[in-house]
Symmetry: C2
């Protein structure tokens, strides 16, 4: 049995709590980050609070035993004050009130003492997740890559929906294409999967599209078209 203390009450903490409660190999206690007194002993203490609060919480846990980890994509391992420290970062965008299937979520794992890697890996496996050994520098780059494939991609969907709404076309017609685009790159590289007027340098279509977009959309269309053609 791995004893876990989970500090925080946000999205990540809630989803982790739920997953650990369903695991037969983990015993978990959730603690409010504003009430850090008389915390039970544990093998792993997980700080699942906002990035800014991680070092503050860590400082209050100075004399604690066991492995201390945070769950952030951007905060360095060194911002934790503990002898045995690590990172337990689930690479996913968590939304409140949505159930999360951890079996498909990879965890980026990092430890200060090599001996602790197995403990974190076992913890990830206890909720059916796969662990990857990723250092702080790599994790920060990965988080940057995630901004493109998640946040910026989602904004492309927003623009697509804006165009549909403006012309009374149901956005759901595009759902199958969106799913296909996302699943295709699990079998071929996105560079190889690239299609469309930019890739073909179909000047007439590009011109017509630009004439039918608003200024902000035009700027984005031109820049990404240029970037696809430079690739």
């Amino acid at each position: 049995m791995i004893k876990v203390v989970l500090i925080g009450q946000g999205n990540v903490a809630s989803h982790l709590l739920h997953a650990f409660e369903n695991s037969t190999t983990v015993e978990v206690a959730q603690i409010n980050s504003r009430a850090l007194e008389n915390i039970p002993q544990s093998d792993v203490t997980i700080i699942a609070v906002s990035d800014d609060a991680i070092s503050i919480v860590s400082n209050q846990l100075e004399n604690r035993n066991g492995l201390l980890v945070h769950t952030s994509g951007t905060v360095s391992l060194e911002s934790l004050t503990a002898n045995r420290k690590g990172v337990f970062y689930p690479l996913q965008s968590f939304t409140k009130d949505t159930t999360v299937d951890f079996s498909s979520i990879p965890f980026c794992l990092e430890v200060s003492n090599a001996d602790d890697y197995n403990l974190l890996e076992t913890l990830a496996q206890s909720i059916c997740s796969k662990g990857y050994r990723i250092n702080t520098k790599q994790r920060k780059k990965l988080h940057m890559a995630a901004v493109f494939v998640n946040n910026f991609t989602n904004h492309m969907y927003t623009i697509g929906k804006d165009i549909c709404d403006e012309h009374n076309v149901p956005f759901e017609i595009l759902h199958a294409l969106i799913e296909e685009t996302a699943s295709k790159i699990t079998s071929i590289s996105p560079a190889k999967a690239q299609t469309g007027p930019a890739k073909r340098n179909d000047k007439q279509t590009i011109k017509t599209h630009l004439e039918n977009l608003n200024l902000q959309q035009q700027e984005i269309y031109k820049l990404i078209t240029k970037s696809i053609q430079n690739n």
Copy 2:
């Protein structure tokens, strides 16, 4: 039994042929667009050739009976020369050598004679697809929206993979996030699903990311961040 003649040998034609051959309610014959003589009679003639060639092929079929349709997202209905004409546009990005499940692909349908709508809808249903009544103007806007949600999204994946490759991080770590981002917008609008440093106006993270990107990536990062914040 609906008799179909399918003109063309590209990706769309190949996938449609395969689907019709598996349908019990359609009888299909494939014709090369360079051999338009002695074509059998049919209820529907589908011109599935490149956009530029559609009107050329259509002109060669001037005296043909039945309904004449093309499969393009961008070519207007009027570019067909026939009494009974229509559009049978499967909104998907087809790749050679990949099997296509038409049951998840929507068809945009348009007809010059209202009486022909049912015929096209039945044809879509014969391969388990759903038909949507979309006119030429709407179809062109939809095609433009598809450039954002498919081609431009795929380029965001390419940049994400470039960043991973550069720092020896396996791109597969991002697959689950990519799938989740795509599937989330089938239940909530992309505008509501938007997260990330741009949305939160997290200036420090934005600054750090910009310092770690190449010039082309920086330009894209800045512009999309601005667009998310203006939304």
